[in-house]
Protein backbone atom coordinates (compact mmCIF):
# COMPACT_ATOMS: atom_id res chain seq x y z
CA UNK A 1 0.00 0.00 0.00
CA UNK A 2 1.56 3.29 -1.08
CA UNK A 3 -1.12 5.69 0.15
CA UNK A 4 0.24 7.65 3.13
CA UNK A 5 -2.84 7.39 5.36
CA UNK A 6 -1.33 9.18 8.40
CA UNK A 7 -0.65 12.14 6.10
CA UNK A 8 -4.08 11.92 4.46
CA UNK A 9 -6.20 11.52 7.60
CA UNK A 10 -5.90 15.17 8.81
CA UNK A 11 -6.76 16.36 5.28
CA UNK A 12 -9.93 14.23 5.33
CA UNK A 13 -10.85 15.59 8.77
CA UNK A 14 -10.38 19.15 7.54
CA UNK A 15 -12.42 18.49 4.38
CA UNK A 16 -15.25 16.98 6.46
CA UNK A 17 -15.38 20.06 8.69
CA UNK A 18 -15.40 22.38 5.67
CA UNK A 19 -18.23 20.44 4.01
CA UNK A 20 -20.25 20.59 7.25
CA UNK A 21 -19.87 24.39 7.36
CA UNK A 22 -20.88 24.73 3.70
CA UNK A 23 -23.91 22.49 4.21
CA UNK A 24 -25.02 24.62 7.17
CA UNK A 25 -24.70 27.78 5.05
CA UNK A 26 -26.70 26.17 2.22
CA UNK A 27 -29.34 25.08 4.70
CA UNK A 28 -29.83 28.70 5.71
CA UNK A 29 -30.40 29.76 2.09
CA UNK A 30 -32.80 26.93 1.24
CA UNK A 31 -35.90 28.55 2.86
CA UNK A 32 -35.32 31.60 0.63
CA UNK A 33 -35.44 29.36 -2.44
CA UNK A 34 -38.57 27.55 -1.21
CA UNK A 35 -40.20 30.94 -0.58
CA UNK A 36 -39.28 32.09 -4.09
CA UNK A 37 -40.78 28.91 -5.59
CA UNK A 38 -44.06 29.38 -3.75
CA UNK A 39 -44.14 33.11 -4.53
CA UNK A 40 -43.56 32.55 -8.24
CA UNK A 41 -46.62 30.33 -8.59
CA UNK A 42 -49.22 32.07 -10.67
CA UNK A 43 -46.72 34.10 -12.68
CA UNK A 44 -48.33 35.45 -15.81
CA UNK A 45 -47.28 33.91 -19.08
CA UNK A 46 -46.43 37.21 -20.75
CA UNK A 47 -43.88 38.22 -18.09
CA UNK A 48 -42.38 34.73 -18.12
CA UNK A 49 -41.97 34.74 -21.90
CA UNK A 50 -40.40 38.20 -21.84
CA UNK A 51 -37.86 37.16 -19.21
CA UNK A 52 -37.06 33.91 -21.01
CA UNK A 53 -36.43 35.88 -24.18
CA UNK A 54 -34.01 38.19 -22.32
CA UNK A 55 -32.21 35.18 -20.80
CA UNK A 56 -31.13 34.03 -24.26
CA UNK A 57 -30.37 30.72 -25.93
CA UNK A 58 -27.60 29.59 -23.63
CA UNK A 59 -29.40 30.12 -20.33
CA UNK A 60 -29.31 26.73 -18.49
CA UNK A 61 -32.68 26.97 -16.81
CA UNK A 62 -36.10 25.37 -16.75
CA UNK A 63 -39.28 26.48 -18.51
CA UNK A 64 -42.43 25.60 -16.53
CA UNK A 65 -45.29 23.92 -18.38
CA UNK A 66 -47.91 25.34 -15.98
CA UNK A 67 -47.92 28.36 -13.69
CA UNK A 68 -48.25 26.49 -10.36
CA UNK A 69 -44.54 25.88 -9.82
CA UNK A 70 -44.81 24.57 -6.25
CA UNK A 71 -47.57 22.07 -6.98
CA UNK A 72 -47.16 18.62 -5.41
CA UNK A 73 -48.98 16.05 -7.55
CA UNK A 74 -50.24 12.82 -5.93
CA UNK A 75 -49.61 9.51 -7.75
CA UNK A 76 -52.49 7.98 -9.70
CA UNK A 77 -53.47 4.35 -9.13
CA UNK A 78 -51.36 1.81 -11.00
CA UNK A 79 -53.17 0.22 -13.93
CA UNK A 80 -52.12 -3.41 -14.32
CA UNK A 81 -50.84 -5.31 -16.10
CA UNK A 82 -48.08 -2.85 -16.93
CA UNK A 83 -44.97 -3.90 -18.86
CA UNK A 84 -41.94 -2.18 -17.33
CA UNK A 85 -38.58 -2.34 -19.09
CA UNK A 86 -35.25 -1.26 -17.66
CA UNK A 87 -31.94 -1.11 -19.51
CA UNK A 88 -28.43 -0.25 -18.40
CA UNK A 89 -25.00 -0.62 -19.94
CA UNK A 90 -21.40 -1.10 -18.99
CA UNK A 91 -18.26 -0.95 -21.09
CA UNK A 92 -14.61 -1.92 -21.32
CA UNK A 93 -12.97 1.02 -23.15
CA UNK A 94 -10.10 0.56 -25.62
CA UNK A 95 -6.77 0.23 -23.83
CA UNK A 96 -3.63 1.04 -25.82
CA UNK A 97 -1.54 -0.86 -23.24
CA UNK A 98 -3.49 -4.11 -23.73
CA UNK A 99 -2.37 -6.96 -26.01
CA UNK A 100 -5.06 -6.07 -28.54
CA UNK A 101 -7.24 -3.09 -29.34
CA UNK A 102 -10.91 -3.66 -28.69
CA UNK A 103 -13.78 -2.39 -26.66
CA UNK A 104 -16.80 -4.12 -25.23
CA UNK A 105 -20.31 -2.96 -24.43
CA UNK A 106 -22.54 -5.07 -22.22
CA UNK A 107 -26.25 -4.28 -22.03
CA UNK A 108 -28.40 -5.62 -19.21
CA UNK A 109 -32.17 -5.41 -19.29
CA UNK A 110 -35.21 -6.61 -17.41
CA UNK A 111 -38.77 -7.00 -18.70
CA UNK A 112 -41.08 -6.92 -15.70
CA UNK A 113 -44.87 -7.23 -15.90
CA UNK A 114 -46.37 -5.51 -12.87
CA UNK A 115 -49.46 -7.33 -11.68
CA UNK A 116 -48.63 -10.61 -13.42
CA UNK A 117 -46.97 -12.39 -10.49
CA UNK A 118 -44.52 -13.87 -13.00
CA UNK A 119 -40.73 -13.77 -12.91
CA UNK A 120 -39.37 -11.02 -15.19
CA UNK A 121 -37.28 -11.84 -18.27
CA UNK A 122 -33.63 -10.96 -17.78
CA UNK A 123 -31.09 -10.36 -20.52
CA UNK A 124 -27.37 -9.62 -20.65
CA UNK A 125 -25.88 -9.03 -24.09
CA UNK A 126 -22.18 -8.37 -24.68
CA UNK A 127 -20.91 -6.90 -27.98
CA UNK A 128 -17.24 -6.81 -28.87
CA UNK A 129 -15.79 -4.20 -31.24
CA UNK A 130 -12.32 -4.81 -32.64
CA UNK A 131 -12.35 -3.87 -36.33
CA UNK A 132 -10.43 -0.84 -37.53
CA UNK A 133 -13.63 0.82 -38.72
CA UNK A 134 -15.01 0.43 -35.20
CA UNK A 135 -11.91 1.62 -33.40
CA UNK A 136 -10.63 4.54 -35.46
CA UNK A 137 -12.20 7.81 -36.53
CA UNK A 138 -11.99 9.29 -40.00
CA UNK A 139 -8.91 11.30 -39.00
CA UNK A 140 -7.13 8.10 -37.92
CA UNK A 141 -7.40 8.80 -34.23
CA UNK A 142 -8.49 6.14 -31.75
CA UNK A 143 -12.06 6.65 -30.60
CA UNK A 144 -12.29 8.16 -27.16
CA UNK A 145 -14.19 7.08 -24.08
CA UNK A 146 -16.93 9.64 -24.84
CA UNK A 147 -17.73 7.90 -28.14
CA UNK A 148 -17.74 4.49 -26.44
CA UNK A 149 -20.08 5.90 -23.77
CA UNK A 150 -22.36 7.27 -26.49
CA UNK A 151 -22.42 3.88 -28.23
CA UNK A 152 -23.41 2.36 -24.89
CA UNK A 153 -26.23 4.93 -24.50
CA UNK A 154 -27.43 4.10 -28.02
CA UNK A 155 -27.36 0.38 -27.25
CA UNK A 156 -29.37 0.99 -24.06
CA UNK A 157 -32.01 2.95 -26.03
CA UNK A 158 -32.06 0.28 -28.74
CA UNK A 159 -32.62 -2.43 -26.12
CA UNK A 160 -35.54 -0.47 -24.66
CA UNK A 161 -36.93 -0.07 -28.19
CA UNK A 162 -36.60 -3.83 -28.80
CA UNK A 163 -38.48 -4.62 -25.59
CA UNK A 164 -41.12 -1.94 -26.21
CA UNK A 165 -41.80 -3.28 -29.69
CA UNK A 166 -42.13 -6.81 -28.33
CA UNK A 167 -45.23 -5.54 -26.46
CA UNK A 168 -46.48 -3.15 -29.13
CA UNK A 169 -49.76 -1.51 -28.14
CA UNK A 170 -49.83 -2.91 -24.60
CA UNK A 171 -49.46 -0.54 -21.63
CA UNK A 172 -45.69 -0.22 -21.27
CA UNK A 173 -43.08 1.90 -19.53
CA UNK A 174 -39.43 2.01 -20.64
CA UNK A 175 -36.94 3.25 -18.04
CA UNK A 176 -33.37 4.37 -18.58
CA UNK A 177 -30.81 4.72 -15.79
CA UNK A 178 -29.75 8.18 -16.93
CA UNK A 179 -31.08 11.41 -18.36
CA UNK A 180 -32.43 11.34 -21.89
CA UNK A 181 -30.02 13.90 -23.35
CA UNK A 182 -27.10 12.41 -25.29
CA UNK A 183 -24.31 14.66 -24.00
CA UNK A 184 -21.82 13.55 -26.60
CA UNK A 185 -23.33 16.05 -29.02
CA UNK A 186 -22.11 18.89 -26.80
CA UNK A 187 -18.79 17.35 -25.79
CA UNK A 188 -17.09 16.69 -29.11
CA UNK A 189 -15.82 19.14 -31.68
CA UNK A 190 -13.83 19.11 -34.91
CA UNK A 191 -13.29 15.83 -36.70
CA UNK A 192 -15.43 13.93 -34.20
CA UNK A 193 -18.42 16.18 -34.88
CA UNK A 194 -19.51 14.09 -37.88
CA UNK A 195 -19.35 10.88 -35.85
CA UNK A 196 -21.29 12.56 -33.04
CA UNK A 197 -24.05 13.66 -35.40
CA UNK A 198 -24.39 10.12 -36.75
CA UNK A 199 -24.56 8.72 -33.23
CA UNK A 200 -27.19 11.28 -32.19
CA UNK A 201 -29.28 10.28 -35.19
CA UNK A 202 -29.06 6.63 -34.17
CA UNK A 203 -30.03 7.48 -30.58
CA UNK A 204 -33.04 9.52 -31.72
CA UNK A 205 -34.06 6.64 -33.98
CA UNK A 206 -34.35 4.47 -30.84
CA UNK A 207 -36.58 7.10 -29.22
CA UNK A 208 -38.72 7.22 -32.39
CA UNK A 209 -39.18 3.46 -32.21
CA UNK A 210 -40.26 3.58 -28.55
CA UNK A 211 -42.73 6.35 -29.30
CA UNK A 212 -44.27 4.37 -32.16
CA UNK A 213 -44.65 1.31 -29.90
CA UNK A 214 -46.97 3.27 -27.61
CA UNK A 215 -44.70 2.88 -24.56
CA UNK A 216 -43.94 5.73 -22.19
CA UNK A 217 -40.25 6.60 -21.90
CA UNK A 218 -38.47 8.07 -18.86
CA UNK A 219 -34.88 8.55 -17.77
CA UNK A 220 -34.25 8.39 -14.03
CA UNK A 221 -31.43 10.39 -12.42
CA UNK A 222 -30.81 9.54 -8.81
CA UNK A 223 -29.16 12.21 -6.63
CA UNK A 224 -29.10 14.83 -9.40
CA UNK A 225 -27.00 17.98 -9.03
CA UNK A 226 -29.02 20.06 -11.50
CA UNK A 227 -30.09 23.59 -10.61
CA UNK A 228 -32.30 24.46 -13.61
CA UNK A 229 -35.39 25.33 -11.55
CA UNK A 230 -33.25 27.45 -9.19
CA UNK A 231 -31.96 29.26 -12.27
CA UNK A 232 -35.57 29.92 -13.22
CA UNK A 233 -36.35 31.29 -9.74
CA UNK A 234 -33.38 33.65 -9.99
CA UNK A 235 -34.50 34.76 -13.45
CA UNK A 236 -38.00 35.50 -12.14
CA UNK A 237 -36.51 37.51 -9.24
CA UNK A 238 -34.67 39.84 -11.61
CA UNK A 239 -36.41 42.90 -13.05
CA UNK A 240 -36.82 42.54 -16.80
CA UNK A 241 -34.48 45.39 -17.62
CA UNK A 242 -31.74 44.03 -15.34
CA UNK A 243 -31.47 40.62 -16.99
CA UNK A 244 -28.03 40.04 -18.50
CA UNK A 245 -25.42 37.27 -18.46
CA UNK A 246 -23.48 38.62 -15.48
CA UNK A 247 -26.55 39.04 -13.31
CA UNK A 248 -27.89 35.63 -14.31
CA UNK A 249 -24.63 34.08 -13.16
CA UNK A 250 -24.67 35.95 -9.84
CA UNK A 251 -27.33 33.65 -8.40
CA UNK A 252 -28.07 33.74 -4.66
CA UNK A 253 -28.77 29.99 -4.88
CA UNK A 254 -25.21 28.95 -5.79
CA UNK A 255 -24.48 25.51 -4.34
CA UNK A 256 -28.15 24.61 -3.85
CA UNK A 257 -29.80 21.96 -6.00
CA UNK A 258 -33.28 21.47 -7.39
CA UNK A 259 -33.28 18.19 -5.49
CA UNK A 260 -32.87 20.00 -2.17
CA UNK A 261 -35.54 22.49 -3.17
CA UNK A 262 -38.16 19.88 -4.08
CA UNK A 263 -37.33 17.79 -1.00
CA UNK A 264 -38.95 20.67 0.91
CA UNK A 265 -41.98 20.90 -1.36
CA UNK A 266 -43.01 17.40 -2.43
CA UNK A 267 -44.95 14.97 -0.27
CA UNK A 268 -43.91 11.30 -0.34
CA UNK A 269 -44.93 9.63 -3.59
CA UNK A 270 -45.68 13.00 -5.20
CA UNK A 271 -44.10 14.66 -8.21
CA UNK A 272 -43.61 18.23 -9.32
CA UNK A 273 -45.00 19.83 -12.44
CA UNK A 274 -43.04 19.29 -15.65
CA UNK A 275 -40.41 21.72 -16.89
CA UNK A 276 -38.81 21.97 -20.31
CA UNK A 277 -35.05 21.66 -20.15
CA UNK A 278 -33.61 24.94 -21.50
CA UNK A 279 -30.38 23.56 -22.92
CA UNK A 280 -28.95 24.23 -26.40
CA UNK A 281 -28.67 20.47 -27.01
CA UNK A 282 -32.39 20.15 -26.35
CA UNK A 283 -33.00 22.04 -29.60
CA UNK A 284 -31.70 19.01 -31.56
CA UNK A 285 -34.06 16.81 -29.57
CA UNK A 286 -36.95 19.21 -30.17
CA UNK A 287 -36.27 19.21 -33.91
CA UNK A 288 -36.50 15.41 -33.88
CA UNK A 289 -39.79 15.46 -31.93
CA UNK A 290 -38.22 14.44 -28.63
CA UNK A 291 -37.73 17.69 -26.71
CA UNK A 292 -36.77 16.72 -23.16
CA UNK A 293 -38.84 17.77 -20.16
CA UNK A 294 -38.29 16.81 -16.54
CA UNK A 295 -39.96 16.69 -13.17
CA UNK A 296 -38.91 15.81 -9.65
CA UNK A 297 -40.38 12.77 -7.96
CA UNK A 298 -40.10 11.87 -4.28
CA UNK A 299 -40.53 8.12 -3.69
CA UNK A 300 -42.49 6.97 -0.63
CA UNK A 301 -40.29 6.63 2.44
CA UNK A 302 -37.44 8.57 0.85
CA UNK A 303 -36.30 12.12 1.67
CA UNK A 304 -34.51 13.05 -1.55
CA UNK A 305 -36.42 13.39 -4.82
CA UNK A 306 -35.01 12.05 -8.07
CA UNK A 307 -35.07 13.82 -11.39
CA UNK A 308 -37.11 12.12 -14.10
CA UNK A 309 -36.61 13.17 -17.71
CA UNK A 310 -39.35 12.48 -20.26
CA UNK A 311 -39.85 13.51 -23.89
CA UNK A 312 -42.55 16.16 -24.27
CA UNK A 313 -44.75 13.58 -26.05
CA UNK A 314 -44.89 11.86 -22.64
CA UNK A 315 -45.11 15.08 -20.60
CA UNK A 316 -48.03 16.31 -22.72
CA UNK A 317 -49.99 13.07 -22.36
CA UNK A 318 -51.91 12.67 -19.06
CA UNK A 319 -52.20 8.92 -19.74
CA UNK A 320 -48.45 8.40 -20.28
CA UNK A 321 -47.53 10.67 -17.35
CA UNK A 322 -49.88 8.67 -15.08
CA UNK A 323 -48.14 5.50 -16.28
CA UNK A 324 -44.68 6.93 -15.52
CA UNK A 325 -45.67 8.25 -12.09
CA UNK A 326 -47.60 5.18 -10.88
CA UNK A 327 -45.00 2.87 -12.41
CA UNK A 328 -42.18 4.63 -10.52
CA UNK A 329 -44.07 4.24 -7.23
CA UNK A 330 -44.57 0.51 -7.83
CA UNK A 331 -40.98 0.01 -8.96
CA UNK A 332 -39.49 1.63 -5.86
CA UNK A 333 -41.37 -0.42 -3.27
CA UNK A 334 -38.47 -2.76 -2.48
CA UNK A 335 -35.45 -0.77 -3.61
CA UNK A 336 -35.53 2.43 -1.55
CA UNK A 337 -37.36 4.29 -4.30
CA UNK A 338 -34.97 3.47 -7.14
CA UNK A 339 -36.75 1.48 -9.88
CA UNK A 340 -36.34 -2.26 -9.41
CA UNK A 341 -35.89 -2.87 -13.14
CA UNK A 342 -32.96 -0.42 -13.22
CA UNK A 343 -31.29 -1.93 -10.16
CA UNK A 344 -31.49 -5.34 -11.82
CA UNK A 345 -30.50 -4.05 -15.26
CA UNK A 346 -27.37 -2.58 -13.69
CA UNK A 347 -26.59 -5.91 -12.05
CA UNK A 348 -27.00 -7.65 -15.40
CA UNK A 349 -24.86 -5.09 -17.22
CA UNK A 350 -21.93 -4.47 -14.93
CA UNK A 351 -18.56 -5.88 -16.02
CA UNK A 352 -16.43 -6.55 -12.94
CA UNK A 353 -12.67 -6.07 -12.76
CA UNK A 354 -12.21 -9.84 -12.67
CA UNK A 355 -14.35 -10.19 -15.83
CA UNK A 356 -12.29 -7.50 -17.56
CA UNK A 357 -9.16 -9.53 -16.87
CA UNK A 358 -10.89 -12.69 -18.10
CA UNK A 359 -11.87 -10.97 -21.36
CA UNK A 360 -8.28 -9.74 -21.81
CA UNK A 361 -6.95 -13.26 -21.18
CA UNK A 362 -9.40 -14.85 -23.61
CA UNK A 363 -8.46 -12.27 -26.23
CA UNK A 364 -4.77 -13.08 -25.81
CA UNK A 365 -5.53 -16.82 -26.13
CA UNK A 366 -7.53 -16.19 -29.29
CA UNK A 367 -4.63 -14.26 -30.84
CA UNK A 368 -2.18 -17.03 -29.92
CA UNK A 369 -4.48 -19.60 -31.47
CA UNK A 370 -4.33 -17.62 -34.71
CA UNK A 371 -0.55 -17.56 -34.79
CA UNK A 372 -0.05 -14.09 -33.31
CA UNK A 373 2.10 -13.24 -30.32
CA UNK A 374 0.23 -10.66 -28.31
CA UNK A 375 2.23 -8.52 -25.92
CA UNK A 376 1.07 -6.04 -23.36
CA UNK A 377 2.87 -2.70 -23.20
CA UNK A 378 5.96 -2.41 -21.02
CA UNK A 379 4.00 -0.15 -18.71
CA UNK A 380 1.15 -2.67 -18.36
CA UNK A 381 3.61 -5.47 -17.70
CA UNK A 382 5.44 -3.47 -15.04
CA UNK A 383 2.16 -2.52 -13.37
CA UNK A 384 1.13 -6.20 -13.27
CA UNK A 385 4.42 -7.06 -11.56
CA UNK A 386 4.00 -4.31 -8.99
CA UNK A 387 0.44 -5.24 -8.05
CA UNK A 388 0.87 -8.99 -7.76
CA UNK A 389 2.65 -9.14 -4.39
CA UNK A 390 2.05 -12.37 -2.51
CA UNK A 391 2.37 -13.17 1.15
CA UNK A 392 5.08 -15.65 2.06
CA UNK A 393 3.76 -18.83 3.67
CA UNK A 394 5.34 -22.08 4.75
Amino acid sequence: MSLDLPNLAPQIQSAGAKIALEMAALGERLPQAVGALRASSGIDSETLQAKLARAGDRWPGAIPTTDDLAKSIAPPALQTPLHVFGADGSQIPPDRHAAAMYYLINIGSLHYIAGSGRAPSASSTPSLYSGNEELYLEDGGLIGSEIVSARRDIAEMAELARLANSCHGEPSLALLDNGLILWLALQVQGQQRKSADALLKEYLHGMDSIRRSGAALAGVIDRPRHANVLALLHLLDLPLDKIDTDRLQATPYLGLTDRGLFAQVLAEGHRSISFIYASPINRDFKAAGHEVAFFYYRPPGVKDPMRVEVPTWVADSPELMARVHSGLVEQGLTTAGFPYVLARAHELAVVSQAERQTVAGLFEESLLAHGLHPERSHKQTAKAWLTSRRRHSL
Binding site: G117, R118, A119, P120, E330, L333, T334
Partner: protein, 198 residues
Protein backbone atom coordinates in the same frame (compact mmCIF):
# COMPACT_ATOMS: atom_id res chain seq x y z
CA UNK B 1 -21.83 -43.55 -19.31
CA UNK B 2 -22.43 -40.03 -18.13
CA UNK B 3 -25.73 -38.47 -19.05
CA UNK B 4 -24.62 -35.41 -21.07
CA UNK B 5 -28.02 -33.86 -20.38
CA UNK B 6 -27.35 -34.26 -16.68
CA UNK B 7 -24.83 -31.43 -16.32
CA UNK B 8 -25.23 -30.17 -12.76
CA UNK B 9 -22.31 -27.77 -12.53
CA UNK B 10 -18.68 -27.00 -13.11
CA UNK B 11 -15.76 -27.38 -10.75
CA UNK B 12 -14.75 -24.18 -8.97
CA UNK B 13 -12.16 -25.62 -6.56
CA UNK B 14 -10.88 -29.10 -5.90
CA UNK B 15 -8.34 -31.48 -4.41
CA UNK B 16 -7.87 -35.24 -4.59
CA UNK B 17 -10.22 -35.51 -1.61
CA UNK B 18 -13.11 -33.83 -3.33
CA UNK B 19 -14.37 -30.90 -5.33
CA UNK B 20 -16.77 -27.99 -5.17
CA UNK B 21 -19.09 -27.21 -8.06
CA UNK B 22 -21.36 -24.31 -8.82
CA UNK B 23 -24.18 -23.70 -11.23
CA UNK B 24 -27.31 -21.68 -11.74
CA UNK B 25 -30.20 -24.13 -12.02
CA UNK B 26 -33.98 -24.07 -11.53
CA UNK B 27 -35.06 -25.58 -8.24
CA UNK B 28 -36.00 -29.11 -9.43
CA UNK B 29 -32.53 -29.54 -10.99
CA UNK B 30 -30.49 -28.62 -7.92
CA UNK B 31 -28.25 -31.55 -6.86
CA UNK B 32 -29.42 -33.52 -3.83
CA UNK B 33 -27.62 -34.46 -0.61
CA UNK B 34 -26.22 -38.00 -0.93
CA UNK B 35 -26.35 -37.90 -4.73
CA UNK B 36 -23.58 -39.33 -6.93
CA UNK B 37 -21.81 -37.23 -9.53
CA UNK B 38 -18.90 -37.46 -11.98
CA UNK B 39 -16.32 -34.80 -12.79
CA UNK B 40 -13.99 -35.16 -15.75
CA UNK B 41 -10.27 -35.37 -14.93
CA UNK B 42 -7.01 -36.16 -16.70
CA UNK B 43 -8.19 -34.52 -19.92
CA UNK B 44 -11.21 -36.79 -20.05
CA UNK B 45 -9.11 -39.92 -19.38
CA UNK B 46 -10.82 -40.49 -16.06
CA UNK B 47 -13.83 -39.33 -14.11
CA UNK B 48 -13.77 -38.62 -10.40
CA UNK B 49 -16.82 -39.96 -8.58
CA UNK B 50 -18.20 -37.59 -5.96
CA UNK B 51 -20.73 -37.99 -3.18
CA UNK B 52 -22.56 -34.72 -2.58
CA UNK B 53 -22.38 -33.87 1.11
CA UNK B 54 -23.17 -30.15 1.20
CA UNK B 55 -25.31 -27.80 -0.88
CA UNK B 56 -25.31 -24.09 -0.19
CA UNK B 57 -26.78 -20.96 -1.74
CA UNK B 58 -25.04 -17.73 -0.90
CA UNK B 59 -26.85 -14.47 -0.36
CA UNK B 60 -25.98 -10.84 -0.99
CA UNK B 61 -27.21 -7.50 0.30
CA UNK B 62 -29.90 -7.34 -2.39
CA UNK B 63 -31.35 -10.72 -1.41
CA UNK B 64 -31.30 -9.75 2.28
CA UNK B 65 -33.08 -6.49 1.43
CA UNK B 66 -35.80 -8.36 -0.48
CA UNK B 67 -36.18 -10.92 2.32
CA UNK B 68 -36.68 -8.14 4.87
CA UNK B 69 -39.35 -6.37 2.78
CA UNK B 70 -42.83 -7.32 3.92
CA UNK B 71 -44.59 -6.06 0.81
CA UNK B 72 -42.29 -7.33 -1.95
CA UNK B 73 -44.35 -7.81 -5.13
CA UNK B 74 -44.73 -11.39 -6.37
CA UNK B 75 -42.75 -10.45 -9.50
CA UNK B 76 -39.76 -9.41 -7.40
CA UNK B 77 -39.82 -12.62 -5.37
CA UNK B 78 -40.14 -14.70 -8.56
CA UNK B 79 -37.21 -12.80 -10.07
CA UNK B 80 -35.07 -13.58 -7.02
CA UNK B 81 -35.83 -17.28 -7.28
CA UNK B 82 -35.75 -17.76 -11.05
CA UNK B 83 -33.33 -15.22 -12.49
CA UNK B 84 -30.80 -13.70 -10.15
CA UNK B 85 -27.35 -15.02 -10.74
CA UNK B 86 -26.72 -16.49 -7.32
CA UNK B 87 -25.12 -19.85 -8.00
CA UNK B 88 -25.92 -22.99 -6.08
CA UNK B 89 -22.65 -24.34 -4.69
CA UNK B 90 -22.28 -28.00 -3.82
CA UNK B 91 -19.41 -29.96 -2.27
CA UNK B 92 -18.65 -33.53 -3.23
CA UNK B 93 -16.39 -36.02 -1.49
CA UNK B 94 -14.22 -38.08 -3.86
CA UNK B 95 -15.19 -41.73 -3.28
CA UNK B 96 -13.61 -43.26 -6.35
CA UNK B 97 -12.95 -42.79 -10.02
CA UNK B 98 -13.71 -44.35 -13.32
CA UNK B 99 -11.42 -45.23 -16.22
CA UNK B 100 -13.28 -46.51 -19.24
CA UNK B 101 -15.95 -48.85 -17.90
CA UNK B 102 -14.04 -49.79 -14.74
CA UNK B 103 -14.87 -48.25 -11.36
CA UNK B 104 -12.22 -47.87 -8.62
CA UNK B 105 -13.23 -47.21 -5.05
CA UNK B 106 -10.25 -45.26 -3.79
CA UNK B 107 -8.93 -41.72 -4.15
CA UNK B 108 -8.34 -40.57 -7.73
CA UNK B 109 -4.77 -40.05 -9.02
CA UNK B 110 -5.59 -36.46 -10.03
CA UNK B 111 -8.41 -34.10 -9.19
CA UNK B 112 -10.58 -32.55 -11.89
CA UNK B 113 -9.47 -29.13 -13.09
CA UNK B 114 -11.26 -25.85 -12.60
CA UNK B 115 -14.42 -25.56 -14.69
CA UNK B 116 -14.45 -29.30 -15.51
CA UNK B 117 -18.07 -30.35 -16.15
CA UNK B 118 -19.86 -32.24 -13.38
CA UNK B 119 -22.60 -34.66 -14.34
CA UNK B 120 -25.27 -36.41 -12.32
CA UNK B 121 -24.50 -40.19 -12.36
CA UNK B 122 -27.08 -42.26 -14.19
CA UNK B 123 -28.94 -44.96 -12.20
CA UNK B 124 -27.05 -47.61 -14.22
CA UNK B 125 -23.70 -46.16 -13.19
CA UNK B 126 -24.79 -45.76 -9.56
CA UNK B 127 -25.81 -49.43 -9.57
CA UNK B 128 -22.50 -50.50 -11.09
CA UNK B 129 -20.43 -48.37 -8.70
CA UNK B 130 -22.22 -49.59 -5.57
CA UNK B 131 -21.85 -53.31 -6.25
CA UNK B 132 -18.91 -52.99 -3.86
CA UNK B 133 -18.83 -51.12 -0.53
CA UNK B 134 -15.11 -50.37 -0.58
CA UNK B 135 -15.86 -46.63 -0.78
CA UNK B 136 -17.41 -46.58 2.69
CA UNK B 137 -14.07 -46.09 4.56
CA UNK B 138 -13.41 -42.96 2.48
CA UNK B 139 -16.62 -41.46 3.83
CA UNK B 140 -16.08 -42.60 7.41
CA UNK B 141 -12.47 -41.38 7.53
CA UNK B 142 -13.36 -37.84 6.49
CA UNK B 143 -13.51 -35.55 9.50
CA UNK B 144 -16.28 -33.03 10.09
CA UNK B 145 -18.71 -34.81 7.83
CA UNK B 146 -22.22 -35.99 8.87
CA UNK B 147 -21.09 -39.49 7.88
CA UNK B 148 -24.15 -41.37 9.19
CA UNK B 149 -26.61 -39.06 7.42
CA UNK B 150 -24.50 -38.97 4.26
CA UNK B 151 -24.13 -42.75 4.06
CA UNK B 152 -27.83 -43.27 4.74
CA UNK B 153 -28.76 -40.88 1.91
CA UNK B 154 -26.14 -42.33 -0.47
CA UNK B 155 -27.16 -45.93 0.19
CA UNK B 156 -30.85 -45.08 -0.18
CA UNK B 157 -30.02 -43.44 -3.53
CA UNK B 158 -28.12 -46.57 -4.59
CA UNK B 159 -31.03 -48.73 -3.49
CA UNK B 160 -33.50 -46.71 -5.54
CA UNK B 161 -31.28 -47.23 -8.61
CA UNK B 162 -32.05 -50.96 -8.40
CA UNK B 163 -35.16 -52.95 -9.33
CA UNK B 164 -37.69 -53.11 -6.48
CA UNK B 165 -36.89 -56.75 -5.70
CA UNK B 166 -33.19 -55.99 -5.16
CA UNK B 167 -33.57 -52.97 -2.91
CA UNK B 168 -34.09 -54.63 0.46
CA UNK B 169 -31.28 -57.22 0.01
CA UNK B 170 -28.98 -54.38 -1.08
CA UNK B 171 -29.75 -52.32 2.04
CA UNK B 172 -29.21 -55.35 4.29
CA UNK B 173 -25.79 -55.96 2.71
CA UNK B 174 -24.93 -52.28 3.01
CA UNK B 175 -26.01 -52.23 6.66
CA UNK B 176 -23.76 -55.21 7.39
CA UNK B 177 -20.79 -53.53 5.69
CA UNK B 178 -21.35 -50.38 7.72
CA UNK B 179 -21.69 -52.38 10.93
CA UNK B 180 -18.25 -53.93 10.37
CA UNK B 181 -16.68 -50.50 9.88
CA UNK B 182 -18.58 -48.59 12.57
CA UNK B 183 -18.41 -51.08 15.42
CA UNK B 184 -16.47 -48.55 17.46
CA UNK B 185 -19.19 -45.90 17.20
CA UNK B 186 -22.46 -47.57 18.10
CA UNK B 187 -24.59 -44.41 18.43
CA UNK B 188 -23.62 -43.33 14.90
CA UNK B 189 -24.18 -46.86 13.55
CA UNK B 190 -27.58 -47.00 15.22
CA UNK B 191 -28.50 -43.69 13.68
CA UNK B 192 -27.42 -44.90 10.23
CA UNK B 193 -29.32 -48.20 10.47
CA UNK B 194 -32.43 -46.37 11.67
CA UNK B 195 -32.21 -44.06 8.65
CA UNK B 196 -31.72 -47.00 6.26
CA UNK B 197 -34.79 -48.86 7.52
CA UNK B 198 -37.10 -45.84 7.80
Amino acid sequence: MTDKQGLIGRVTRCSTRGFVGAIRLPEPEIPVFGGYCLAEAQQGGSQVIGLIYDISIQDDEFARQMAATETAPAEVLADGQANRQVPVEFSALAVGYRVGEAFHQHLPPQPPLTLAPIYRMTPEDVRAFTTSFDFLPLVLSTPQLPADHLLAAALQTASEARPAAERRPFLIDAGRACARLMAGDLPQLQNLLRSLTS
